[in-house]
Amino acid sequence: MSILLDRTNRVLIQGATGQMGTFFVEDARKYGTKIVAGVSPGREGTTVGGDVPVFASVRTAREETGADSAIVFVPPAAVLGATIEAIEAGCRLVVATADELPVLDTIEIRAAARANGTAFVGPNSPGIISPGKAKLGFMPSFCYKEGNVGVISRSGSLSYEGSKRLTVAGIGQSTVIGIGGDPVKGTTAAEALELFHNDPETSAVLYLGEIGGSEEVFVAEYASRAGAKPVAALIVGQTAPPGKKMGHAAALIGSKAEGHQAKIAMLREAGVHIANGVGEVVSATRAALASHAKATAAA
């Protein structure tokens, strides 16, 4: 198994006829993702990627093709309208990779997703991949391999780097989810952890976090819980100065609790296996997997 995404998702693409949409159709299909529809108001009746039909609305696309998941490639100002259309049309999973989205729009989208029981991944995220099954995003396919480690990342490229290191070391992933670098997230670390917790295929979780924000509080809370799956974590930004935004809107040390030292201390306290730097991602994950094996043997 995996979380949110597997071989059964039938995917529609909003903004399918743009440059990113076109690249995605080809790349994601090659990986095995079932792309069944494009949505591009005004371009209905055409196709993308050779044979994927384009519709005027998500509703029509769903009715005609049974699409149940959406990925959104439209300019920032149009993301709010497009995601809410997908959510209200009943998609079970909506991924918006866009960065430069006003946080108020994310707040609205998240509220709509909650009200409709939709899983929303993004924004400012590479998307989500369940290795060997399907991908909804731009991650380089060769970095991943099917397996039993769930990966949660606040950063896109860091999730490629971390996953590739696991893959090269022979450790596969159940799902790798980019929760995004913005302060308000479609899916939070807490929610992603809960999904991995309930996924029988996931044995341990690797969390790739950074300085700033309070997402890591959730991670510590989960890890301290009785019966939690073992968690490994890397927090980048040890050398970041306080009070400066490090690219991501959320990566800003606003108080001591948001700094590297405080987060590491809190996670260690909660029993999380800490990677000191990206070079230790594999060893920390191995330690987590070992502690899972031990717990399973004991049970």
Binding site: L101, V103, S157, T239, A240, G247, H248
Partner: protein
Amino acid sequence: MMMLEHEGKQLLASAGVPVPRGKVIHAGSRWVEDIASGVTAFPVAVKAQVRSGGRGKQGGVRQVKVADELPRVVKALLDTAFGGDKPDAVLIEPWLGIERESYLSVAVDGRAEGYVVMYSPRGGVDIEEGPPPARYAVGAPWNFRVHEMRRVLQDIEPDYQWREKVIALAQRLVRIAAMHDCSTIEINPLAKLSDGALMAADAKVVRDEWAHFRNAEIHGMREAEKQRADTLLRDSLDMQHMYVRLDGDIGLISGGAGMTMAAMDMIAEHGGRPACFLDCSPGPTSTRGYRPAFAMLDGDPQVKVILVSVFGGGTQMQRVANAMKEVMAERKSKKPVVFRLDGTNVDQVPGIFEQFGAHNHARLEEAVSAAVRLAGRAA
């Protein structure tokens, strides 16, 4: 993007929040005449308008009791650097008869899934030393509830007349934050005047830069921020690059905030020091995109070696490699460059790099180690 105090107060006033009637004197203006004509009632507060925090503790707020003293104090403040920068302006306000100082803020907060309101009965410069403020998680702005906030304040603020004023103000601030795309509005101190009235004695307002397409003021702030940067940095910011200057000597050109920080951390681990955080991923992955990044780091005497570290998904590596080839050909600087490209289509990179004699390190560790070594040699 943080607004100056007087800009933030103007925004708040436009939405009906009581603020002191102030007078702004910009650096470089003919301020002496301005002062003479405008300020009649004393004492006044003269406040340096700076974007960094901790102004109060650094002497950035002065009381002036008589008109004669005013020019000297204004001049002194405009000539003082706070957090590295001299003030853009000073704000002159009537000295308030404050009976009590509280703290009120509205901010975007991930845990709240939207906005959070924070209130402390005791505000002022030492707010961080005291107990944490009470927290009302609002979420989406239309979810603000007067009665919910009243429940949060019930036990911590016994003066119910003041409490009601604070709640009404919090409601207003959440509305302002949503209307004007503010990620933070902090009022500290929130002053209770001797007549019981409430006044925003200070204001820290942070705007969400990504709302620039629907807010002309934010658009203007972004442009002004670029204008404040020097020419080389401005060209880089024009490419949407994200730049933070650091105090080391390894110029880091990278892609993605997380990977940039991971590389910074690894440089430190190897005994080196990064000269910057420079995330080029939001801009074009073409020669046009990378050219200003190199120009800036080549022109920075602090930078001894440049490390290019990009792990791309949507960013295709053969394009980055080709951009590097072109930039290297144009470049005059002799500073050494270390490359580590990985990600989509990375298999095409060696062929391109061969054309201009560059080497692509397979692992970040190798590239960092090479950069640190080169920086040491340059020293």
